[in-house]
Symmetry: C3
Subunit: 200 residues, 3 copies
C-alpha cells in the first residue's frame, strides 16, 4: 500500500484508502469501506463496509462508522460519536424481526456529514440525518433533524444555538452580516441559510 501508516495492532482490509492516512491501534477498517487521503483514524475505531470518509478527516478514538454513513472532506468526528443506520432496530436473530432484515431497503437509512463539519464527543446522530458544511455539533447533542451549513447545535434534542466560521470560531451577526474575529471571513445569513461571502 502507498504511504499509509497502519499500527501493528490495527486491521485494515480495504484497499480503498488514500495516501498519508494513519490508522491507530485496535481499529478495524473493513473491505468495502472507502477512506480518502490524509485521514487520521484513532484507536478503537470500526469503519464498516459501505462507509465513506472524505480527504483530511480526523476520526478520534472509539468511533464506529457504519454502512450508510458518508463523511465529506475535512470532517472532525470527536471521541465516541454515535452513528446509527436503523431507526427501529431489533436483533436480526429475533424470529419476529427476521423478515425485516432480509433486505437492507427495509431498514438502512443514510447519514451525510458535510465538508468541514465537526461532531463533538458523544454526540448522537439518528439515522437519516444530513449535517451541513462546517456545522458544529456540541458534545453530547442528540440530533433528531437535519443541521444547516455553519450552524452550532446543542442539547437533546439538539437545537440551533448559533453559527460558526469555517475556522471553527463562533460568529456574531449584525443584521445579516458577520465577520469572523479570528480569520476575517465574511458571511451573510437569511433565516437558516448562511453563506460565505468570499472564497478565501
Amino acid at each position: 500500500m502507498k504511504d499509509v501508516f497502519v499500527h501493528p495492532q490495527a486491521l485494515v482490509e480495504t484497499a480503498d484508502i488514500g495516501e498519508g492516512c494513519r490508522v491507530w491501534a485496535w481499529s478495524h477498517i473493513m473491505a468495502g469501506a472507502r477512506v480518502g487521503r490524509h485521514c487520521n483514524i484513532g484507536e478503537h475505531c470500526f469503519i464498516e463496509a459501505g462507509a465513506r470518509i472524505g480527504d483530511g478527516s480526523t476520526i478520534k478514538n472509539g468511533n464506529m462508522i457504519w454502512e450508510g454513513v458518508e463523511l465529506g472532506e475535512g470532517v472532525f468526528v470527536g471521541p465516541h460519536v454515535f452513528f446509527t443506520n436503523d431507526l427501529y432496530p431489533r436483533s436480526p436473530r429475533l424470529p419476529e424481526a427476521r423478515e425485516r432484515y432480509r433486505d437492507k431497503h427495509n431498514w438502512l437509512l443514510p447519514t451525510r456529514i458535510g465538508r468541514g463539519a465537526s461532531l463533538g464527543a458523544g454526540a448522537i446522530i439518528l439515522a437519516g440525518i444530513t449535517i451541513g458544511e462546517y456545522a458544529l455539533v456540541a458534545a453530547g447533542a442528540c440530533l433528531t433533524r437535519d443541521v444547516p451549513n455553519y450552524a452550532l447545535v446543542m442539547g437533546a434534542p439538539a437545537r440551533i444555538r448559533g453559527w460558526v466560521c469555517r475556522c471553527g470560531q463562533p460568529l456574531r451577526f449584525y443584521g445579516s452580516r458577520a465577520t469572523c474575529k479570528a480569520c476575517g471571513r465574511c458571511y451573510q445569513r437569511r433565516g437558516h441559510a448562511v453563506r460565505a461571502l468570499d472564497s478565501k
Copy 2:
C-alpha cells in the same frame, strides 16, 4: 468448543457460551459470564463474570455488560450502550469508600432486559432498572425508571412516547386496539399494559 467463532484478537474465557455464537476482535468474555446460543458480540465489548445474555441476542460494538446485567432472548444492544450496576460509585481504592466495597450487597443493583427488547446507541441504563419485553429505547435516552413491555421511550430522563410491535415497527392504537401495519400482529392496551392478542 462447539460451533463458536472467536476472532483471533478476542479473548473468550467462559465455557458457558452457546453454539453458533460469534465474538469479534478485541472483545473479552470473562469466565463466569453466560452467553446463550446464536449471539453476535461485536468488536471492543466486555462481558463481565456474572453477566447473562440470552439466545439470539445482538450486541453491537463497544458494549460492556457488567455483573448484575441480565439480557433475555433476542435482545438488541446498539453501539456503546451504558450499563451500570452501582448508583453511588466511588473508587474502591479511595480510603473513605473501602468499607462500601467489602461486600457486593452494599452496592450491586441488577438490571434486567426483557425478551426482544432493543436499546439504541448510547442509551444510559441506570442500575436497578427493568426493561420490558420488546420495548424500544431510543438512541441517547437516559433511563431512570422501569420500562413497560412494548413501550417506546426516549429523552433524558426517558419518557414513554409510543408503542412498538414485536417486529420493531411503531404501533398506532385506535381506542385500546392496534394492528401492526408491517406484520399484522394485534395488540390490546390498558394504560401502560400492552399485550399481544395472538401468538403468531
Copy 3:
C-alpha cells in the same frame, strides 16, 4: 518496571506509572502521561501524553484521558466518560483550521477533577471545567460549568440536585448540618460551599 501489572494486550509507554497499578487489555498509555500508584485502568482506555491521574484512581473501560485532563487522588471514572479539551474543534487537516492548530494555546483547555470525585457512565465533561472534591456526576450528565465539592449533579445541562458524603452516599441537610447515615461523617453547608466538620 516495579510492581505494575500490564496485560499482554496493553501498550504502556510511560515510565511515570506508580507501583500497584493494573492496566488491562487493549489499553494504551502514552509516553508523557503520569499515572499515580495503585490505579486500575480498565480495557480499551487511552491515556494521552500530558494527562495526569492521581493515586488510587479507578478508570473503568473505554475511557480516553486527553492531554490537559488532570485527575486527583481516588477518582472514579465510570465507563466511557467523555473528556474533551477543545470547545470549537475542527479537523486539523482542514485547510481553514490549520492556523488554529499550529499552537496549543489557541485551543487546549484544561479539565481538573478533585480528589475522590466520581464521574458516572457516559457523562460529558466540556473542556475547561473543574469538578470539586468528592463530587458525584450522574451517569449521562452533560457538564457545562464547574461543580462544587460534594455536589451531586445530573441532567443535560447538569444541575446540582443534592450532596454526597466522601463515602459516596447522599446527604440530607437539616438547616446547615448533615450527618452521613452510612459512615457518620458530619458536614456544614453555606449555599454551595460544603465542608466536612471532622477529619476522620
